[in-house]
């Protein structure tokens, strides 16, 4: 039994699909993210993750990204999300971030590398 429900937000033309499966320990964000005001979209996701981090009894979690691209204000909130995880009680082995990118997608590789360099997390860039 989990104390928190799964989170599912369907993809739209300017926001990604979000699927956080608590039982499976798999969190996924996929698609493109370019809303004009990213705060409106990301606030509930940040709140959800904040709750999750407070409740979860440290069963391992994998957070996967597969972004087509995202605007700077989305980037700011993705960073905030990952910072929350970095500052939580999860250790590097318990919470792993996987940044999936197409092998030829220079922009998203660059973005992944930047996030990786800013965060003290288990952060793997997986070139597909």
């Amino acid at each position: 039994m989990s104390l928190i429900d799964n989170l599912h937000i369907a993809q739209t033309e300017d926001t990604p699909e979000v699927y956080f499966d608590v039982q499976a320990g798999r969190f996924r964000i996929t698609g493109r993210s370019l809303p004009e005001n990213a705060y409106v979209f990301y606030r509930p996701i940040l709140e959800y993750v904040s709750n999750f981090l407070g409740i979860n009894k440290k069963s391992p979690v994998e957070m996967e990204f597969k972004m087509d691209y995202f605007n700077s204000s989305s980037g700011r909130f993705i960073f905030e999300l990952l910072t929350m995880i970095e500052e939580s009680k999860f250790g590097k082995t318990d919470f792993r971030v996987i940044w999936n990118v197409d092998v030829d997608d220079e922009l998203m590789i660059e973005k992944g590398e930047e996030l990786q360099s800013l965060l003290d997390l288990s952060f793997e860039i997986k070139k597909l």
Binding site: L34, E36, N71, S72, F79, E80
Partner: protein
Amino acid sequence: MDHSSTGIHPLLALFDLYLKFRSQQSVFCYRGVFNEEFTSTIIDISEGANFRSEINVNRKVSFLLVECFQNIIKHGENHSEVQERSEGIFSYRLGPNGFIINSINPILQQDKPTLKHLVDEINSKDSKELKELYIRKLSENQLTEKGGAGLGLIELARKSGQKLLYQFEDVREDISLFHQQVTFLSNEEAPMENLLEDTGTLDNMLALEDAFLMYKGDFSQKSILPILSIVEQNVSAEGKVKNTTRKVAHLLVELLQNISKHSEEDETGRKEGIFLIGKTRDSVFIECGNEINEREMHFLKEKLSYLTSLSTSELVSLHKTAMKASIKFENKYKSGLGLIEVVKGAEKGVVYSFEKLDTDKFLFAIKISF
């Protein structure tokens, strides 16, 4: 006048285009290869332009756009043995007098007499006669391979309720350019404007700038997203593809969203501006302009003059610092990251200028190349 570089003013054309179209609610012009997939995109863009509130009028306009657009594609496909023939110009303007669609597309000289005869015949008929002509052509067409030859033009005349304006421009022994205008007047008293010549002028202005797309109008997300898909298809049609395409899309979004944050909203809350996208042999560029007040001008001047003085590695580390700082900020809307991204992405240069429009109104114009 304030130019970030000396010598000739690199953003003069954008400024001229802005002044030319300042009073129009929305203007769109695309020059290049025509592709069936653009059809739905064109509708989305025009719906973003919001032609009056009556739904019926909007539907009619969408219908006219599709017909015009598909007519051009048909011609292109018929003569695909010569590559340049699938290219053309498609533009629309939404102004106080109505919605006007202009196109220029190449046709074979040998098809000119038939086309001329058909358009003249259509223009000579009243609405009842047009309906009869339509029905007659419809049954004739069932017997031919060429679906729609002439039907599209008849429908354009019927639905717009106006004469079709046209002219031919002979460019080669075997090729003539067919200039066409479909006019949808906002009311019966509105004057009919002939923009055939002016569309040729617009085409020349854009050609001189190496621009393949121009848009003036609302900068909200609803308008930007369909344009992105045109950009994605057009840039990727060129070869070295994906990364360039992604970059254009990324920088365009960043530029337009950033700019809309600094825009002066009009009474209805619309955020307006103009942009061009183009490509030269070795680079792609975006030129973008919008109206700002004096306070915003000072802010942007200072910020851009600082950002453009930095090296790439300095920009990378500034971006990281700004990222870290951004999550501590109370203001969740203006993180300041966008302009850094824009300048960082403009590998082949940034130029910008501020031109006075009226008291306390300036056109902020920026060109980024990569």
